[in-house]
Amino acid sequence: MTKNMIMGGLAVFVLAVLSPFWFNMVTTTQAAPEPELLGPAKQAKKCVLETYDMRANHMSLLDEWRDAVVRDADRIYVAANGNFFNMSLSTGENSCLGCHADKAKFCDSCHTYTSVDPYCWDCHTNPKEIE
């Protein structure tokens, strides 16, 4: 190994380690999405879970809902705050997207920002796209 080869390799390594820094300098960086309530959700002051639980566990909740609906035909969810909800992601006024009108703002903004690719939409459609 000649000294030039070692120094060249070292320079490549240092650049690779610093890549998160320079990559954000040469590309435009997207800002963090701001949570925003739209549509009926703006007026309704109730949700399925508290904000913190919802942020942390909505994916598990949807997973349980899917199993309850598909396997047990159980379509009504009684929330901890006593409200009844239709266990549906995208069908009807009382579903997730029925209340939170804008999928792009409600689902996609955070999912895209954190590079999460949920497979909900392999089967479900966004109600707004059909109309």
């Binding site: 963090a32 999460v116 497979y119």
Partner: protein, 334 residues
């Protein structure tokens, strides 16, 4: 013997608790901003100092380890990879070493026969190779996946890697294969050091500390993703703040994340001072990165200086009369 692993284990627990409680006590700016920057700086400076130091040291001898037939007469088949005599052979040998850990693949273990003969026998031991390969590749995937916290929008190659890593689609949030393989392999490598008496004998605290540190990092990371949950958007805001030099500490991030980040920072800062420098050192192993061409090419010691030499001709000139008198053969009679 026990202190060799109990002290590193206690150290990792303590370090985690320091960050966990410290962040709760309002020192989030230190564990979230100051220390990560210092750790990256220490990592880079330490790494460069170490490698330049190695580059400056002399390698006077051709000492490749030869694991096959060297280049010889034309009808004798050479082993071009295990005994290379050209640069291309050396490059191939190095690539296989770095990407497939070929020398670990050849690992053998020595043990006494259990029967009356009690002879020592050597057998092929492949599990160190399997464990090391699983560990290193899982770690690489985990590190690359973390680029989703340092880029926005996230490049499609990182998303593709995430999709591949989560291809089993088990549970929600989806299980990553690397999240299973990394702790499993690290635990195996730890178990080797703990339960194999011969390996335990040569294991020091400096061997256990990185293992416990990496296991701690994996445990906190897995906990945040699958079990205790964190505000991922807030965390990405913070990591993006770090890499764009506009650091922020969003509310509600939680002590577990600070514990994770602090252990990672410790790993970075500790890296150049530890055995983990094999990351750079593997490229500079003289027993692997040299061609075995000593029969074809003369290699002169680079720091040779002129010494007064007394050749045979001079010797004979000096002692010719006495040699002839004693009846010794000489090259020149007069």
């Amino acid at each position: 013997m026990t202190q060799k692993y109990l002290i590193p284990l206690a150290a990792v627990f303590l370090l985690f608790l320091v960050a966990y409680t410290g962040a709760g006590a309002g020192l989030g700016w230190f564990f979230g901003i100051v220390f990560p920057y210092l750790a990256v700086l220490a990592f880079l400076v330490g790494f460069v100092v170490k490698v330049t130091g190695w580059a400056a040291s002399a390698v006077p001898f051709r000492i490749p380890t030869t694991c096959g037939q060297q280049k010889s007469l034309p009808w004798i088949k050479q082993n071009c990879i295990d005994n290379p005599d050209t640069s291309s052979g050396v490059i191939l040998r190095m690539l296989l070493e770095i990407f497939t850990f070929r020398s670990l693949f050849r690992n053998t273990k020595a043990a006494f026969n259990r029967n009356a003969s009690n002879r020592i026998t050597y057998s092929w031991e492949i599990f160190l190779w399997v464990g090391a390969l699983a560990f290193h590749y899982a770690f690489l995937v985990v590190i690359l996946r973390h680029f989703r916290f340092f880029t926005a929008p996230v490049p499609s190659c990182i998303q593709f890697l995430e999709a591949l890593d989560g291809i089993v689609q088990v549970g929600l949030p989806g299980l990553f294969l690397s999240g299973v393989v990394l702790p499993a392999a690290a635990l195996f490598l730890l178990a080797r050091r703990l339960f194999d008496a011969k390996v335990r004998y040569v294991s020091q605290a400096a061997d256990f500390f990185p293992l416990f540190l990496i296991l701690g990092i994996a445990a906190t990371g897995i906990s945040m993703r699958y079990f205790t949950k964190v505000d991922i958007v807030g965390i990405k805001e913070m990591t993006m703040g770090l890499v764009t030099f506009s650091p922020v500490i969003p509310d509600g991030i939680g002590g577990l994340f600070y514990g994770h980040l602090f252990l990672v920072s410790i790993l970075f800062a500790y890296f150049p001072a530890s055995k983990l420098m094999h990351l750079g050192g593997v490229f500079l192993s003289p027993t692997r990165n040299m061609a075995n061409n000593t029969r074809a090419k003369r290699h002169v010691n680079p720091w040779n200086y002129d010494v007064p030499i007394h050749t045979y001709q001079d010797y004979e000139d000096h002692f010719r009369d006495k040699m002839i008198e004693a009846g010794l053969p000489v090259e020149k009679k007069e």
